[in-house]
């Protein structure tokens, strides 16, 4: 049972340097109005010279709960925050920027999420424009270490045990602009438990020079972020290089391959069927294999092709010509069953790693297999566990997204299907541009170790056509492993060109019965997002709870007005 803390003191630390006085006033007032009983606000003036700021701080110092410190010389946000940390006496510390605003119950709500084992709590936030208008929310997933490496998705609002922050040495100099990313990375390495509060408790003002304002606002901040991530990788024993990407604030962590690189067995179930792609006929399996042979830069591959009885001999001959001795042919007899075929293929494979590959795929990025291998062989991380399975970004033949990871929220779904393949995905978190944890991935292109696959008993043969990857993904997670989806492994998936997509009722019943809770509660999505869309569409906060399958769609505007008129009895 969760043990609640009795009225602990919370120190809110705000470094101040030349803010708009109106914004600073709003910030100070939002702390004064907190519903939590014991809050001290430590305001560190980092040598402000702007008119009105000194007066505001002087008035603020008159309040007993406020401590105003003045630095003789400007030392930057790190030095000012550390001064605040040194003066703090609370059991918990929270960090608030000088022009941002807290919801009235922000601190009380965050405190409620702490128990004896929790060391760090973060919440959702939204953005304010310069005039104070709310622009939109940032609805975050639960603790996602892979994502945090690639993107500081947490930013605000963070509350942590003061002792832990002090033991870590507080903020580090040299990381100005990304000091919060650096701190959260270090907290994540040591915290016993990290909790996400899915409520907008913090309003982040988009000042023109704020990181919240995005592109080119603070380029040095992203350089500092890159260094923070590189040092984090070193600390956790992850041999990797960190690159910036086209997307500001999103990094690419390239894992170094183990030496020697492990043998990867590519498992491809096929019946050798053909179809038209981009105007010409192709034999799918041949082109899938050819794309790997011609483009992939991964050095050690074995192709395990699981063929049905009616596979044309010419297809097999062509495959033999393409890959020679690296081809392992497995004959599958009887009805089509994806799970059985993959299990038969895995039994014949000799690789340490298995790459599940549908025959209607084509490799796009040459280092796609390296990327998957790097992720799946990465180190275990604290309480988060190792990566058990990795999925790729899949595009339809028109370049739109087919698979951006699974979302298990009122049923299993592909995230952001239909978005442009070049789009980073919905703002502000841009999920299509960042490697991140997700609840599951499609087996059309996915990798896991042969050892784990065998330990989990392979694909469920009760599910011959659909949801076999959903079941496997959920078993991977239930065994304590993480699943990561990456946009840096890029493939075409000409989905369902080789068979008609049809879900059997018994498949739905099987998956619902086995994973009812998991299919409705996706930790890497957000309960505030719409259960009817899988594009990070915000579900209005006061909407009634969605009742799951069979529930009606939200009211249209006209219906809402009619319903309200009826309700008020006009």
């Amino acid at each position: 049972m969760k043990e609640r803390l009795i009225d602990p003191l919370v120190s809110v630390i705000t470094p101040v340097f030349d803010p708009d006085p109106a914004h600073l006033a709003a910030c100070l007032e939002s702390v004064e109005l907190q519903t939590a009983n014991r809050v001290e606000h430590i305001i560190v003036d980092d040598g402000s010279t702007r008119d009105g700021v000194a007066e505001l701080l002087r008035r603020s110092a008159d309040r007993s709960s406020n401590i105003v410190l003045r630095r003789a010389t400007q030392g930057g946000i790190v030095a000012a925050s550390n001064d605040g940390l040194a003066a703090a006496t609370g059991e918990f510390v929270a960090f608030l920027d000088h022009d941002d605003v807290l919801r009235r119950d922000a601190i009380a709500t965050m405190l409620a999420a702490f128990d004896d084992c929790v060391d760090l709590v973060y919440s959702d936030h939204d953005f304010l424009d310069a005039s104070g208008q709310h622009i939109g929310p940032c609805l975050k997933p639960q603790w996602s270490p892979e994502r945090l490496r690639n993107q500081n998705y947490i930013t605000h609002f963070v509350m942590a045990r003061r002792k832990l922050v002090v033991d870590l040495g507080g903020f580090r100099s040299g990381f100005d602009g990304a000091q919060d990313h650096d701190l959260v990375l270090r907290l994540g390495e040591t915290a016993r438990q990290i909790v996400h509060v899915p409520e907008v408790l913090y309003h982040w003002r988009q000042a023109p020079t704020s990181v919240a304002a995005g592109v080119d606002a603070k380029p040095w901040a992203f350089d500092a972020g890159q260094r923070a991530v590189a040092e984090h990788c070193e600390r956790i024993g992850l041999d990797a290089t960190v690159d910036t990407t086209e997307q500001e604030g999103i990094y690419r962590v390239r894992h170094t391959l183990p030496s020697p690189p492990p043998l990867v067995s590519v498992l491809i179930p096929t019946r050798g069927s053909a179809g038209y792609i981009w105007g010409i006929s192709r034999c799918f399996v041949v082109e899938a294999v050819r794309s790997i042979v011609e483009r992939s830069t991964y050095p050690d591959l074995e192709f395990v092709v699981i063929v049905d009885d009616d596979t044309p001999p010419a297809v097999i001959t062509t495959l033999q010509d393409l890959v020679g001795e690296r081809l392992v042919l497995v004959e599958h007899h009887g009805e089509f069953n994806f799970s059985t075929k993959m299990n038969e293929g895995a039994a014949a494979a000799s690789g340490d790693l298995l790459l599940f590959l549908n025959d209607d795929t084509e490799l796009i990025e040459p280092d796609s297999i390296q990327t998957l291998v790097g992720l799946v062989t990465g180190p275990s991380e604290g309480t988060s566990g190792p990566v058990g399975m990795v999925g790729a970004k899949l595009l339809f033949d028109d370049g739109t997204v087919q698979h951006g990871g699974h979302v298990y929220f009122h049923g299993p779904h592909h995230a952001s299907t239909g978005w442009s393949g070049t789009s980073p995905g919905p703002l502000p978190l841009r999920p299509l541009a960042v490697a991140r944890e997700c609840s599951g991935v499609t087996a059309a292109v996915a990798m896991m170790s042969a050892e784990l696959f065998n330990e989990l008993g392979g694909f469920p043969e009760e599910l011959p056509l659909n949801y076999n990857d959903v079941d496997l993904s959920l078993r991977v997670r239930a065994a304590g492993y993480r699943i990561v989806w990456t946009p840096h492994s890029l493939w075409y998936h000409f989905e369902s060109r080789t068979r008609i997509g049809e879900v059997l009722p018994r498949e739905t019943a099987y998956i619902e019965q086995r994973w009812a809770h998991e299919l409705r509660n996706d930790p890497y999505y957000n309960p505030r997002l719409s259960p009817l869309w899988f594009d990070w569409l915000e579900w209005p906060l006061d909407e009634p709870t969605f009742a799951g399958h069979g529930a009606t769609k939200p009211d249209t505007f006209t219906t809402a007005v009619r319903r309200s008129i009826k309700r008020i009895g006009l």
């Binding site: 981009w278 105007g279 010409i280 028109d398 070049t422 789009s423 569409l537 915000e538 008020i568």
Partner: protein
């Protein structure tokens, strides 16, 4: 069955000649024309791919706009619920005050 048919080597040669004739009919008198045809086919396929991808970009934009539109619909619905809720609340206060005044007047 003739003696020739029974000889597998002769049979293979005949099959190969037949295949050669079939291919020659397809390719024409010059091998170069087959290569040209292939190059043309690859080029045409590449053009189809580019057109498809341009189409996909537009489809992707439509999808983004659809999501934005749906978000706007959600927000309008929410705004109207808030406005109507407040109107109802204020209306209730006015009615209650009126009822109180009416009660005082009746007394």
């Amino acid at each position: 069955m003739s003696e020739v048919d029974q000889d597998p080597v002769v049979h293979d040669v005949e099959a190969l000649i037949a295949e050669n004739k079939r291919l020659r009919r397809l390719v024409g008198p010059l091998e170069q024309s087959y290569d040209d045809l292939r190059t043309e086919l690859v080029g045409a396929s590449e053009a189809v791919k580019i057109a498809e991808q341009a189409n996909g970009e537009l489809r992707g934009e439509i999808m983004e706009l659809t999501v934005a539109l749906e978000q706007a619909r959600h927000n309008i619905g929410k705004l109207h619920r808030i406005v109507l809720q407040r109107a109802r609340h204020m209306g209730g206060r006015v009615v209650r005050r009126f009822q109180r005044q009416l009660a005082t007047f009746n007394r």
